[in-house]
């Protein structure tokens, strides 16, 4: 054990140091070595989390779950515990207006409610590992696909190794914080990754199941059905029919789950979850754009602006999927980023998933133009939020405007990044398909 782990350790350090060596000079790593490396990364991710829990367990349990940047009214673990407690005592969990999460989570945590807290921590660590593994698989599948596609003549093909993709996700501080805060958004993330992976592999039915689950967990992933339906492997003549069938299956499954939940928990589940997310009934501050605006708004305009804000987020599904119809996975990645920036109850964990998906498209990163800007904006957004929260809530010397300013910086950083990655993809497509533009300057206005 010690000898092999030492060897793997060196390999990991090497991998991290060189950012996944797909350089032309180094020989491509064998599949076996790569999976060993991946296993090592996943194990190390677990060890780091367990170490943090063992050393700073009290601090983590007291401090992180209450952070508004990490858990929102629709993902808070405290609220889930309340729902579990109510339903364990045969009271409707949606009574009292505290619990706003999907019945799916209630069913999943039903057994855990009776077990010690350590099991719950274990579930969250396992979820992180599952997501990281999913990302690695996704990266592998996409790399295999990209290798067969035409590239730009004279370019170096960069492809992040699956183990590096997993490491970049697992060791992202935002991911670690989100999972230690036990935000239930991780379940939705796992479903999203599953949907994208199955979709890419042509397992459309599984992809639809995952999307439906993700939709029930956090509503916005419904947007993903657009790119996923385009991932169909059907031959061109049957394409239209396959896409329609996928969308119909999705709608049927979502309605089926809805009927099931209505049967178990009554119709009030719907107003407490989906309706709650759409109407933004709880204006607890978070890192999104909604709360401040809807605190300030006059009541008579509320409905109108809810429609406007929600459409701003949801309307991207079809155009983005259509514009990147030849690379539906990329459309999916962009939609994950759009959700993270524009949804009604976002948290840092949403950004973390988007950042985790980016290395899969490593060949686009060389086309990006504003990384310095967006990296800075995101750093200030993430750094200033807790500081302004401290000034506003704990110290009382600041006010809501402070925190909202940090939120604006954070969202602006995400939009810049989305814009940058999107235009990188467009430029690359242009380079591949329109050879005459390769030596021209393209200006986007």
């Amino acid at each position: 054990m010690t000898a092999t782990s030492k060897k793997n350790g060196d390999a990991l350090v090497d991998a991290l140091r060189s950012g996944g060596t797909a350089k032309k000079t180094s020989p491509p790593p064998t599949a076996q070595a790569e999976s060993a490396r991946l296993a090592y990364v996943l194990a190390l991710g677990c060890v780091v989390r367990i170490c943090i829990l063992v050393m700073f367990g009290n601090l983590v349990h007291d401090y992180l779950p209450g952070r508004v940047e990490l858990s929102t009214p629709v993902t808070s673990f405290k609220r889930l515990s309340e729902g579990l407690h109510l339903s364990a005592h045969n009271i409707s969990p949606y009574n009292g207006g505290v619990f706003h999460q999907s019945p799916l989570l209630l069913l999943a945590f039903k057994g855990l409610y009776y077990l010690p807290e350590a099991f719950c921590d274990a579930v969250y660590i396992a979820m992180d590992v599952v997501i990281a593994l999913g990302l690695a698989k996704l990266a592998g599948a996409r790399a295999a696909r990209a290798a067969q596609q035409v590239g730009v003549p004279g370019e170096t093909r960069f492809a992040c190794r699956p183990s590096v993709v997993a490491a970049l996700y697992l060791f992202n501080p935002l991911v670690v914080a989100t999972s230690l805060a036990k935000s239930t958004i991780v379940f939705s993330h796992a479903a999203i990754i599953g949907a994208l992976y199955f979709g890419l592999q042509g397992l459309t039915n599984w992809a639809v199941v995952c999307t439906a689950i993700a939709t029930h967990l956090s509503l916005y992933p419904a947007m993903l059905i657009a790119p996923i339906s385009l991932m169909t492997h059907a031959a061109d003549v049957h394409r239209g029919r396959a896409i329609t069938a996928t969308v119909l299956k999705f709608i049927a499954l979502v309605l089926l789950l809805h009927t099931l939940f209505v049967a178990i928990y009554g119709a009030e589940y719907f107003s407490a979850t989906v309706d709650f997310t759409v109407r933004v009934s709880d204006l607890q501050p978070n890192v999104g754009l909604f709360w401040y605006f809807f605190i300030e708004i006059f009541d008579e305009f509320r409905a109108f602006f809810i429609v406007v804000f929600q459409l701003t987020a949801l309307a991207f599904a079809v155009p983005v999927a259509y514009r990147f119809r030849h690379e539906p996975l990329f459309g999916g990645v962009l939609l994950v980023g759009i959700m993270s920036a524009l949804k009604s109850y976002p948290a840092w964990g949403d950004l973390a998933l988007f950042l985790g998906l980016l290395p899969i498209y490593e060949d686009l990163l060389k086309y990006t133009q504003y990384v310095f800007l967006s990296a800075n904006l995101l750093l200030y957004g993430v750094g200033l939020a807790p500081v302004f929260w401290h000034l506003w809530i704990e110290q009382g010397s600041g006010n809501a405007n402070f925190f909202y300013a940090a939120t604006l910086v954070y969202v602006f950083g995400q939009i810049t990044l989305l814009f940058d990655v999107g235009s990188a993809m467009l430029r690359r497509e242009l380079d591949i398909h329109q050879p005459e533009t390769r030596t021209r300057t393209v200006v986007q206005e």
Binding site: F158, K366, F388, V442, Q444
Partner: protein, 615 residues
């Protein structure tokens, strides 16, 4: 947007090309401008006259009555009780005789984690307000010893007198809590924890409502006081609301016992502008020191952590005061210290202040929480001083932008469309090989900082004295230097460029300074001066010879944390190694200085050295 900003790929606007290429030359003067901005703050034309925002306080609108026979009797009773009982029970007896709800709180605490258990006793008495239902309270607090370790029995006597006075009145809308502690800030912190229900080991049972404001008293032995010193800085850089400070200054002047900020008297109005300027500078520097590293006078600082506006009033003896000269050393029992005959105007100042606090309709919120006070009854608001931080952050960011652009060979910066594809591929390949190395160096150096942070907290039962602290710091410094030499050797052979490293570190430091500047402006400036300025000027000129490299490293060692803390001992007025003081403040009050030294200042200094040493 693409006209303003674009990266390696597309044709860049000429403005941006020039800006990126020469922004470094702008960043040096910008950093200097940031410092000069601070030098402008003391100018009297830069500050504004203080005013009251909260009209409900109505300061100075009442006749003050403190100082009747019964109040003096209560003060004398303290001396009588002190002769027969220990001091906690003496005070308890006096409070009880006045009719307050009293309780003593015995507690243990340690100043540094796992090291030494100290014990202490707090006594408090609550005067229940006749006109309200105990949901809000005001606090008067005193410690048995002053900051300079002299007896503070005068403050306790005055508190007894004030308690007697307050108990005779019917107009109180808030409970008044009188607290006496024997362990300074630590004691009041324990008391506050218990009051808020956070302490499980030494809970309080006699409690009142939410504390709206607190006033701490410090009256060293003296024959007479010429005025009061006013201190308002908390541990984490919090300041008391400006209305509170203004109000106390105003009423103290009416009572002919002026409260001077940090005990610095007014400069005559017709003085030369330079005299005014130097005096304002001195006052601002004292505030910066207190705000950045924690105030050492009075016990008001812990209150501010709990969102309670608090100040300290400290009596200022004359320099040739005979009593002060004899009793300044704390070798006498409290009963020996003669009662100061001049407590009446101080009492009336507090009376007037508390009448105003009693008038408050809500928590202080109208006036500034972020301010600097260059002279008595003048202020500089955040809008006028924060641009200095902006300039400093801007200089770091411009530097970073320039270096990020300048990394790699020159061909990468051409904007000919014909070489675009080759260029972006080469540029990304360069980032792909160098970026993990740069991040690797930064992580390693921070791991060392984490070790520096954790060891004093993990080692059990070792006694962290001044000598061992110094030895520890020197050992860590040696370890750091050897690490610097080792890593720079490795990275030299690998051909890693310093530009990328400096760019990343500048971005990182800029974020930290920005976040700090809104929370604790003084600390942000201090951090920029000791870590940011050296970073900006690292490799400002070529380091191609060994002598230049060696002198660069020596200069960086001169601004290293060990050096600065050794020098800072006198500036900060610490009696022991500042590292220990910071550690104790971090442990007891969550002060940020200690983690910043370990996790930001120390690593950035080492990274600067590495930058000088690599290619």
């Amino acid at each position: 947007m693409s006209l303003v900003l674009s990266g390696q790929g597309e044709k860049t606007s000429p403005v941006l090309r020039v800006a990126r290429k020469y922004s470094a030359y702008l960043s040096y003067p910008l950093a200097i401008c940031g410092l000069f901005w601070l030098l402008v703050l003391p100018l009297s034309s830069f500050s504004r006259r203080a005013y009251f925002s909260e009209n409900a306080m109505m300061p100075g609108q009442v006749y003050t009555t403190f100082g009747t026979r019964s109040h003096m009797d209560a003060m004398d009773r303290v001396d009588a009780e002190l002769k027969t009982k220990d001091r906690a029970h003496a005070v308890e007896a006096v409070f009880a005789s006045i009719g307050l709800d009293t309780e003593t709180q015995a507690f243990t605490y340690s100043k540094v984690p796992r090291i030494g258990k100290h014990t202490g006793t707090n006594v408090h008495g609550i005067l229940r307000a006749p006109r309200s239902d105990s949901v809000e309270a005001l606090v008067i607090a005193a410690s048995w010893t002053t900051a300079s370790n002299a007896s503070n029995v005068n403050a306790v006597r005055l508190m007894a007198g004030l308690a007697q006075y307050a108990s005779e009145q019917v107009y109180w809308a808030r409970d008044i809590v009188f607290v006496v502690t024997d362990s300074g800030e630590q004691g009041i912190e324990e008391w506050l924890r218990a009051y808020q229900g956070l302490s499980t080991t030494s809970p309080l049972f006699v409690r009142s409502g939410i504390i709206q404001a607190a006033l701490s008293l410090e009256l060293p032995p003296a024959k007479r006081y010429t005025g009061l010193g006013l201190y308002f800085e908390g541990k984490g850089g919090q300041l008391a609301n400006l209305d509170y400070v203004n109000m106390v200054q105003y009423v103290s002047r009416l009572e002919r016992m002026p409260a001077y900020l940090h005990g610095m008297k007014d400069v005559p109005r017709r003085a030369h502008w330079w005299t005014k300027y130097t005096s304002a500078t001195q006052l601002l520097l004292r505030q910066v020191r207190a705000q950045a590293f924690g105030s050492s006078t009075g016990i008001h600082a812990p209150f501010l952590r709990y969102r309670i506006d608090a100040i300290t009033l400290a009596g200022l003896p004359q320099s040739d005061d005979p009593v002060s000269a004899v009793f300044a050393h704390g070798l006498f029992t409290d009963a020996d210290v003669p009662a100061a005959p001049m407590l009446r105007p101080i009492g009336r100042t507090i009376e007037a202040s508390f009448r105003s606090l009693n008038n408050l309709l809500e928590h202080f919120h109208q006036s500034f929480f972020f301010y600097m006070l260059p002279a008595n009854q003048r202020y500089v608001s955040i809008g006028d001083y924060i641009p200095a931080a902006g300039l400093m952050i801007g200089s770091l960011l411009l530097q970073a932008m320039h270096l990020w652009w300048m990394q790699g060979p020159d061909e990468l910066r051409s904007d000919s469309p014909h070489t675009r594809i080759a260029r972006i591929n080469a540029y990304y390949a360069l980032l792909r090989t160098t970026l993990p190395s740069s991040v690797g160096i930064i992580l390693r150096v921070h791991a060392l900082g984490l070790v520096l942070l954790l060891i004093p907290q993990l080692i059990a039962s070792s006694v962290l004295t001044d000598t061992t602290t110094t030895a520890y710091l020197f050992t860590m410094a040696l370890a750091s230097i050897s690490m610097v030499l080792h890593t720079s050797d490795i990275y030299w052979t690998r051909g890693i460029e310093w530009r990328q490293l400096k760019s990343i570190v500048s971005v990182y430091l800029a974020v930290i300074v920005a976040c700090l500047s809104v929370m604790n402006f003084s600390l942000a400036v201090a951090l920029f001066v000791v870590a940011g300025l050296p970073l900006v000027f690292t490799r400002v000129c070529r380091v191609d010879t060994r002598i230049r490299r060696a002198s660069g490293v020596l200069l960086l060692m001169a601004v290293s944390p060990v050096c600065m803390m050794t020098l800072g001992m006198h500036v900060l007025g610490c009696t022991s190694n500042p590292f220990r003081v910071f550690l104790a403040d971090f442990y007891s009050f969550g002060s940020l200085v200690y983690p910043l030294v370990c996790l930001v200042y120390w690593p950035v200094n080492l990274l600067c050295m590495i930058m000088v040493l690599i290619q």
